[in-house]
Amino acid sequence: MAGEVWIGGGGVICGIGDNLSACIDAFRNMATGAATMEYLSSAHKGTYPVVEVRADNATLAVRAGMPAHISRTALLSKIAAREAWDSTGLGELRNYRVGFVSANTVGGMDKTEDFFADYLKDPQSGQLNQVVNHECGSITELVADSLGIRHHVTTISTACSSGANALMYGARLIRNNMVDVVIAGGTDALTRFTLNGFNTLMILDQESSRPFDDTRKGLNLGEGAGYVVLVKDELKELIRTPWCKLSGFANANDAYHQTASSPEGVGNYLAMKGALEMSGLKPEEIDYINLHGTGTQNNDSSEGLAIERLFAPHYPPVSSTKSFTGHTLGASGGIEAVFSALAVREGYLYPNANFGTRMKEIPFTPVTAFSEGNKVHHVMSNSFGFGGNCSSLIFSIG
């Protein structure tokens, strides 16, 4: 495809940091995020640790410059999107044709579940302002309106791979000359709905999750938002420090089960292979893989076997940053895209926390310590999820 797409910047808010540099410090200090629930109200408070953004909605609202009564999903989104834009040095948004492609899975569910408790008692009760932004798309529009973006605004929801698909669609918008820049990524707030949903699937760990460890028991849910700024080639000179290029991406479907991954990771394999093909890279040229790595038995095994099939015998360093951030669902593809793109710029390798024992079924182990100044020219970021949706992105040095 014609037209390079540059990563001009990025922003993250999640349970290990209020901004990107705080997150990097957390990796450096091995400061993982799983803890007892403090802001979400749930019957499972004492049972399942979560990785919450350490601020209440009133505090986030001040930072976001938005009303405190709106969904936390929107507040997180605005904070990370703003950080991403400011990091580019591109100046005023209104000087460009800007797209905002944001993914989420919960929309305004954090408010809807409060509304619904009242509504179920009496269909005429419940405050309407709690349910007016229930739709996933509403969250995106609240933030787009607040940032002043009108050229192209849309929302993607493909469960845990949502954020990665936002980057693909954003890159296509640029290559089709529909916009000059796209703020692309995802956001999700913790809700009782998702916590209880994952609980019914029996894939929540009661301790800190241990991705790619043989003794792994499940995932920790997290929350947050992460966006990169995709910039068309012609504007590259205006970026403060171009991080890297988005050199490849692919989306494939596992077509195996509505929630479980196929044992051999067919969809994972096809997504990684497709992304390599688009980038024109050979597997041995990948310097680091940011794993999907949720920490469930099934997910990690499928991903590990798919990596083995594609990469053997040249295994690049791999790690799951979800061992720090928890699984932030619709945000994870966006957050991990930021980490992956920054890894190319800075030569970072991120650690996989809580690792002790190699998984029996695969011959490689994840990186366990933070390091910088490595030769990191090409990074693959994996996001796989419900509905068989599997996506891989590749970031390459410019």
Partner: protein
Amino acid sequence: MSIYIQGTGCVSPLETAAEGPFPAVVNPAYDGARLKVSDPDYKQWIDIKQIRRMSRIIKMGVAAAKLSLQEAGVEKPDAIITGTAYGCLDDTGVFLTKMINQQEEMLTPTSFIQSTHNTVAGQIALMLSCHAYNNTFVHKGFSFESALLDSIMILKEGKSKHILMGAMDELTTHSFNIISRFNRFKKEPVTHTELLHSTTPGTVAGEGAACFVLGTEKGDNSHARLTGLTTSYKPGSTAEIAADIIAFLAVHEIAQEDIDLLITGRNGDSEGDIWYDHVERTLFPDQAVGCFKHLCGEYPTAASFGMWVGCKVLSSGQVPADVLFKGNTPEKIKKILIYNHYKGTHHSLILLTGC
């Protein structure tokens, strides 16, 4: 490069899932400002054991997908792309209700699993064993249009032959109750012939699923090309949207008088219909105008039903009497412009050309 509509499939309040001419209106009087899908026999496409677990949106979506693939003669598409504003509302409501009533205890996973917005696209992939690109857009009144744009961009890359795309939204008792509280629907009784001439605010709620197989080659059952698509988010005025339409036609090198039929998303809401009044009056005063929302009801992805109607008009060469709102059926129908807006905030233009 041309993009052909190789197959279409639709489940709506009309009996659109059956073959044959444009279906008659089943219930001319609305049931309390609400139109419900006329369910076809889903056993034609889905295993009976699966049907029992599926909510309506999944069944509708799968049926529309299978119908469109059948018409296109395609077994496995090279991409599956859906749009849904509300997603799987019924399963969401079921899980939410149990979670609240049972104080977060003793919950079962089925409704949670099926509540995710990509359930329909995932289910179609599963049924077709289709490992191809799979995406779902959930952006209110642009959910369908974003899915269309994604399809167009992927076809332009030249690696995909057939893309299955479509949109689906279901109306549930809860969603109807809640949206009613925002005064979106008519309070007085209304019939399908009266709705479009209504002078009061509000419309009629609807639902449905419409799918299309798009490809770069003309299929055996292709009667239309998708020649243009654009969207406008929160245009400032009717004059701005009129200017957008003129610019859109200019990009496609089409004069206003080349449009043989204008199809609008008119829905009987006196506040929202002023957009259509303006466009009809100022840009297309001499053209025939068709409408579709009195047949499917209003919902964020209703433009997909509008596009299905446009395809039917091009394949039959006729504007069904129930669709024709203004003017006479043109002698030849080659170009159709579909102008839709949702709540005045999401405006879209779709250009279809007969082939």
